[in-house]
């Protein structure tokens, strides 16, 4: 709500100073939103499906089973596909922690969750094109693995 208030005040202020410019700003906002509508719709559909296919209890189940190295790969894949908003992701990470899941796994899961987005991919492609969107997501995936490795070393879960 605060966000709406701030936007409203700025817009009002803008209209008082220069109505023409402000009308142009609103037109830009409308046109840009319309331009990404198809990819936004694709994203909405993907999110609704992914949330259905990967509910919380299933995520906990996937991350808590099997051998370590396999677990890291699974956590990275689930994190890349899952569409968990930030304010749910960390309580979920807390639950994972309480279930005895290692920091390494949690790090790879939360980092891929944030840096790799299968559901946001259609929107990313409209802005950056297929190739760069793909490169960016692969980089995110690799960074997540490195982060997890170093977190594992730091917490003494991974030994060289």
């Amino acid at each position: 709500m605060l966000f709406w208030l701030i936007t409203g005040i700025l817009l009002l202020f803008s209209f008082l100073v220069d109505p023409d410019k402000s009308r142009k700003a609103v037109r830009i906002a409308y046109q840009r939103l319309l331009a990404i509508f198809p990819s936004l719709l694709a994203m909405l559909i993907l999110v609704s499906l992914v949330l259905y296919l990967f509910p919380q209890d299933r995520i906990i189940f996937y991350l808590g089973n099997g051998r370590k190295i396999v677990n890291i790969i699974i956590a990275a894949l689930v994190g890349s596909i899952a569409a968990v908003p930030g304010f749910i992701a960390f309580p979920l990470a807390g639950i994972l922690r309480d279930n005895g899941i290692s920091y390494t796994i949690i790090a790879v899961f939360t980092t891929t969750l944030m840096m790799v987005g299968v559901t946001t991919f259609p929107v990313e492609v409209t802005y950056l094109g297929k190739k760069v969107a793909l490169i960016r997501n692969i980089i995110g995936f690799v960074i997540a693995l490195i982060v997890a490795l170093l977190i594992g070393l730091y917490f003494g879960e991974v030994t060289l």
Binding site: F3, W4, T7, L11, S14, K21, S22, K24, A25, V26, I28, A29, R32, L33, P38, L40, L41, A42, M43, L44, I45, V47, S48, L49, L51, Y52, P85, G86, F87, F90, P91, A93, G94, R97, Y103, I106, A107, T110, T111, M115, G117, T120, V123, E124, T126, Y127, L128, G129, V132, I135, R136, I139, G140, I143, I146, V147, L150, I151, Y154, F155
Partner: protein, 180 residues
């Protein structure tokens, strides 16, 4: 001839996309009418996510519009462009950290910055940081996983994001690349 082929291909993909959307909504309607649990749950997810986005997106785009008309290129370019140096990356990370909405908002913002003269590596840093260092989310992370976890994650991921952004910029400088 080749142009016509790619045109045909993109039209085919477009049709496929709209057919998928149609099938999806028919399934939702069918589930809603005949009480199919899977479809109803998917529908609920859709509505919930639509509401979350509806709260953030219109405002974000209006702010982007205001940015476009009020902030001249002369202000953005010296800080986030090639003359900006290290300051550009720091600004990008601070901006990303204080912004709400994640990638969905960061993408249109980065497009606006790009057209005002921000360099690509700063933009890729901004996009990467908007995923990793968001302050409100980080506070949450600290309370659930502890300061050390967050500190290590930041210290590792931020330099990697900057380095990979520089490489990506260098790679793309050889091709015709632009952000829409």
């Amino acid at each position: 001839m080749k142009k016509r082929q790619t045109k045909g291909k993109s039209r085919f993909l477009k049709n496929l996309y709209w057919m998928g959307v149609l099938v999806y909504f028919i399934y939702l309607l069918y589930s809603w009418l005949f009480q199919v649990p899977s479809g109803r749950e998917i529908g609920q997810n859709l509505v919930a996510y639509l509401l979350t986005m509806g709260k953030i997106l219109p405002c974000s785009f209006i702010l982007i519009g205001l940015f476009e008309v009020w902030i001249p290129r002369e202000i953005v370019e010296p800080h986030l462009g090639y003359q900006g140096g290290i300051r550009g990356y720091i600004l990008a990370i601070v901006l990303a950290g204080t912004m709400a909405g994640g990638l969905l908002v960061a993408l249109p913002v980065s497009s606006a910055l790009y057209h005002k003269g921000a360099r690509l590596s700063v933009i890729f840093t901004f996009l990467g940081a908007s995923a990793v260092v968001r302050i409100p989310m980080t506070l949450f992370e600290v309370s659930f996983l502890g300061v050390e976890f967050t500190a290590v994650r930041w210290l590792v991921s931020v330099p990697l994001i900057i380095i990979s952004s520089l490489f990506l910029e260098k790679y793309l400088s050889k091709e015709k690349f632009g952000i829409k």
